[in-house]
Symmetry: D2
């Protein structure tokens, strides 16, 4: 299991006429959480891209529970429960400063070669970094 | 069944370092499609909001099949298969100019009172407009 | 003189808590207007980029006169008054459906080589397309 | 003189096909810097809005000097040189982690009543907080 947290403040332009954060922005916050995870693993996304691998999102499921507002500080919790083989499946939640659940979801990310744009297996660079967080016998994706 | 189509061009700032439309933008395109549906029903979202009803998104499931690029013209297809009672469930697909499927998903939208911010049933204004598209015996949400 | 018009509808997520289009979005609308200009010239931005030339914005001056709202249809007017040599200077205005001026500004765009990322003079591809719109004796930038 | 600094990381979706931060986003970063200034003054923007005052941007001049990339950490420096009377004029610069100047500009912000949407003079709430940073004899806007 690999888990990270990332905190960010709501930005004014992210709110809409309803006075709340527009629902599309939570996908962007989720991504900030994933990129923080990559950073903590020691392979920031821009480093992985320079190594010729890109990580397109292939699926998202997200449920919205409560609105976030300008002035809120949000915590994005990102968890990888199974060692990735061909894809990474991430569980993500967002909480506000009162620890209320704003939204949660599951994001599936693939690996592609940046030149051929074809799917590839998990790159060695990434596999080595994340392996220590998973026990040997754990089920792979 | 109620179905609409809306066409838009990819905008440059919607692409990212991968050179493709960022995955969060498809939620925004989906919304453009839903707002076009509201317009065709005769109750644009801004009219409904002035009548005191807001439509927050409560859930999204989206699968990405192929990337979209700058220069692409995208068609957003929005379908409501069941007459809404408390929530609207919309099936949405996006195709490019070559009729390739870019992504598809299911979006669930609720109704809330803009003052109390509490959930309300489908507003009369909306119910009357959409009812004719559904047969009497059809199952409601 | 070369002039184009492009029309777009305000999108819900572009509005903010003030209930109006966020001021940053007008720079994006301006860009939509410029890309429409490139399309009408016969060299869409993505074609020019594939030819190895990129067009970074180097300066923007923008004045906001009236707000735009969800439901508004906006017309972006883009004018090039002088034949570009090293940079393109564009005058841009945005009007709503009641022909009220929303904002106006001046945008300066440069040309750079997409590999070296160094400034280059106006590419032949572009120069040939835009030249016919300017009289011979006209002052160059 | 009142001056604040705010640091943020480039987000992936803020980059474009050129692989650099899209020029429109710097207006958003500028706003983050201004909102940080309001916070440090003790009147966060959402507090001022609840008090019935909104701060629309009326003019922006921005010059882009160098691109920012994914992985960059940006520092937004915001300075108010003259005590605001009817409008606030802010000088803003953005630097990357190598202290290179990315862009700089001048942003003019007005005060409007959130109900009437008419311009108002600087609200007492704001005037009292910012006055101590300016000497008595300093020229007002």
């Amino acid at each position: 299991m690999f888990k990270t947290e990332y905190t960010l403040d709501v930005r004014y332009y992210e709110t809409d006429t309803m006075g709340i954060v527009h629902h599309s922005n939570y996908l962007r916050y989720f991504e900030c959480g994933r990129n923080q995870m990559m950073k903590e693993l020691g392979i920031p996304i821009e480093v992985l891209e320079r190594a010729g691998v890109m990580l397109p999102v292939v699926k998202v499921e997200i449920s919205y529970k409560a609105p976030a507002y300008m002035g809120d500080s949000l915590k994005i919790v990102t968890t990888v429960n199974r060692e990735p083989l061909a894809k990474i499946v991430l569980e993500q939640q967002i909480f506000n400063q009162k620890d209320e659940l704003i939204c949660y979801g599951t994001v599936t990310v693939g690996f592609i070669d940046s030149v051929t744009r074809r799917p590839v297996r998990v790159p060695q660079l990434f596999a080595e970094k994340i392996a220590p967080f998973f026990t040997n016998g754990e089920k792979k994706l």
